[in-house]
C-alpha cells in the first residue's frame, strides 16, 4: 500500500504523512526527488529515520519518533506548521482511517464508548490538504467493510477523501462518487465488491496491479 501511495507523489510536493503505514511511504521514493515532508510539530523537510544510537530527542516527528532532516529543512512553531496546512500549502496528506464513505467522508478519530483519543491534527489535514489519500486495510479485523455507504463512526471531516488505497484495491472519489481504478492482480472486481460496504463505479480500463 505504501508503495502504491508513493506513486502519487511528484517532485516539489509538500507532503504530510500520518502515523503507521503512511509513515513508510518515503521508503518507496527515488532519492533526490525533492519532496518536502512536513510535520505538525514544526518540521519542513524530514528525512530518513536515524540509525540506532544516533537519535536526537529534540528532533522527532509529530508521533514522537526520531527523524532526521534534509538540506533545505526548517523548523517553525506548531501554529505556523498548521498555517501551512490551512493555507493550502500542503499538497498531499496520507492518513490511515477507521472508515471511509463512498462520498469521501473520513472517520478516523474516535470509536464512541471505546476510544476517544482526540482529533490531534487530523481535521486540519483532512479538510485543508490539497489532496487526501487514505491508506487502510480493506476490512476490519472482523472482516467488516471499512468502505461504507455512510460512516457509522463520527466524522473527522466530510467530503475530503480523494483516493483510497487498500490491500485489495484503489478507488478515487470524484464528485462524491466512488470509482474503482485498480485492484490487486490476485483479486477481482467481484471480490472487491463483496468486501466493500457500498456500490462503486468501475473505471473502463481498471488496472490489475501487483503491489
Amino acid at each position: 500500500m505504501a508503495r502504491r501511495a508513493a506513486l502519487e507523489i511528484s517532485p516539489g510536493m509538500v507532503v504530510n504523512l500520518g502515523i503507521g503505514i503512511p509513515s513508510l511511504v518515503p521508503n518507496f521514493l527515488p532519492p533526490d526527488m525533492h519532496v518536502m515532508f512536513h510535520a505538525e510539530n514544526g518540521i519542513t523537510g524530514m528525512g530518513a529515520t536515524p540509525h540506532a544510537g544516533e537519535e536526537d530527542e529534540a528532533l522527532c516527528n509529530a508521533g514522537g519518533f526520531p527523524v532526521t532532516v534534509v538540506p533545505g529543512a526548517s523548523y517553525c512553531d506548531s501554529a505556523t506548521a498548521f498555517g501551512m496546512i490551512r493555507r493550502g500549502r500542503v499538497d498531499l496528506s496520507i492518513l490511515g482511517s477507521l472508515q471511509v464513505s463512498g462520498k469521501g467522508d473520513l472517520a478516523n478519530w474516535i470509536i464512541p464508548g471505546k476510544k476517544v483519543p482526540g482529533m490531534g491534527g487530523a481535521m486540519e489535514l483532512a479538510s485543508k490538504a490539497k489532496k487526501l489519500i487514505v491508506l487502510m486495510s480493506h476490512t476490519d479485523k472482523a472482516g467488516n467493510p471499512k468502505i461504507v455507504d455512510e460512516c457509522t463512526l463520527p466524522l473527522t471531516s466530510g467530503r475530503c477523501v480523494d483516493l483510497v488505497i487498500t490491500d485489495l484495491a484503489v478507488f478515487k472519489v470524484s464528485n462524491q462518487k466512488l470509482i474503482l481504478i485498480e485492484h490487486r492482480n490476485t483479486s477481482s472486481v467481484e471480490e472487491v465488491a463483496a468486501k466493500t460496504g457500498c456500490t462503486f463505479e468501475v473505471q473502463d480500463n481498471v488496472k490489475k496491479v501487483a503491489y
Partner: protein, 233 residues
C-alpha cells in the same frame, strides 16, 4: 557572576519559580508528545503535589513523559489539549469522570494559544464545523457568507516552557523540533517561566536568531535535563 550579571533580575532558582504555583491554577505548558516540555518544572510541580490544576497544551504526553506525569497522578481537574491518545491513564481518568477534557483541533489550539499571547480575543476558523465535539459550546459567525467557529484565545496564570538557550533578558532560542508549541506558550502566560539548557551572557545571542523575545519571559531557570525515558528508547 561577571558577564552573566543578572541585570534584569530574571535568572532564578527552581525553588523561586515554585512560589508562583498553587492549587486550582491554570498552567500552560510547552511541548509536543513530551518533546520540549520542561522536566525540572514538571518534577517540582509533582513534588509540590498540587491539586485541581487546569492544564493547557498540545497533548497529555505519555504516562511517564512530560506533562503526562502530572496528569497521570490525578493532579489536573481539566485539560485543554488536541489529543490524549498517547496517555491511556488520561483516557481512563476521563472515562471515570475524574478528568475533564476539552479537545481542540491541534492547529486551532496552537492559534488559540498564540491569540492569547498576542492580546487577541478570538480567531475565526472553519475547522471542525461539521464536528459535534468541536462545535460544542462554541459560537458561530458568518463572514462574507461563510461559516466560522469563534475560537476563544487561551491564556494562563503561569506558562512553563523549555528552551535551548536564554540570555539574562530571557531571550530564547529552541532546539530543533523541541521548539513546537513553546514560542506560543511563552507568549500566552501572564507569568512565563523558561527552563533552559544554557544561560549565556547578554549579547551572546544573535538578535536575528532569537525566537522568543525576552519581553514575554519573566523568569529563567537552569534545567536538570530530561529525566524520563522516551517511548522510542
Amino acid at each position: 557572576m561577571g558577564k552573566l550579571a543578572n541585570s534584569f533580575h530574571k535568572i532564578a532558582a527552581l525553588n523561586q519559580a515554585m512560589e508562583y504555583f498553587q492549587d486550582g491554577m491554570t498552567i500552560m505548558f510547552g511541548g509536543f508528545g513530551g518533546v520540549g516540555s520542561p522536566p525540572a518544572l514538571i518534577g517540582a510541580i509533582l513534588e509540590k503535589d498540587l491539586k485541581e490544576l487546569t492544564l493547557i497544551g498540545n497533548d497529555t504526553g505519555f504516562p511517564e513523559i512530560g506533562i503526562g506525569k502530572i496528569v497521570s497522578r490525578g493532579m489536573a481537574r481539566k485539560v485543554i489539549v488536541s489529543h490524549i491518545g498517547s496517555n491511556p491513564v488520561a483516557g481512563k481518568l476521563m472515562n471515570e469522570g475524574l478528568l475533564e477534557v476539552e479537545f481542540s483541533p491541534q492547529g486551532t489550539l496552537a492559534e488559540r494559544i498564540r491569540a492569547g499571547g498576542m492580546g487577541i480575543g478570538a480567531i475565526l476558523v472553519d475547522i471542525g464545523l461539521d464536528n459535534e465535539m468541536v462545535i460544542q459550546g462554541k459560537q458561530q459567525f458568518i463572514l462574507n457568507g461563510r461559516d466560522y467557529l469563534v475560537e476563544p484565545a487561551l491564556t494562563a496564570e503561569v506558562s512553563i516552557v523549555y528552551a535551548r538557550k536564554a540570555d539574562p533578558y530571557g531571550n530564547l532560542i529552541y532546539d530543533k523540533s523541541a521548539r513546537n508549541t513553546n514560542p506560543l506558550v511563552a507568549m500566552a502566560g501572564n507569568y512565563t517561566i523558561a527552563e533552559v539548557e544554557e544561560i549565556v551572557p547578554l549579547g551572546a545571542l544573535n538578535p536575528e536568531e532569537i525566537v522568543t523575545p525576552g519581553v514575554f519571559v519573566d523568569m529563567v531557570i537552569p534545567t536538570c535535563g530530561v529525566n524520563w525515558k522516551w517511548a522510542w528508547e
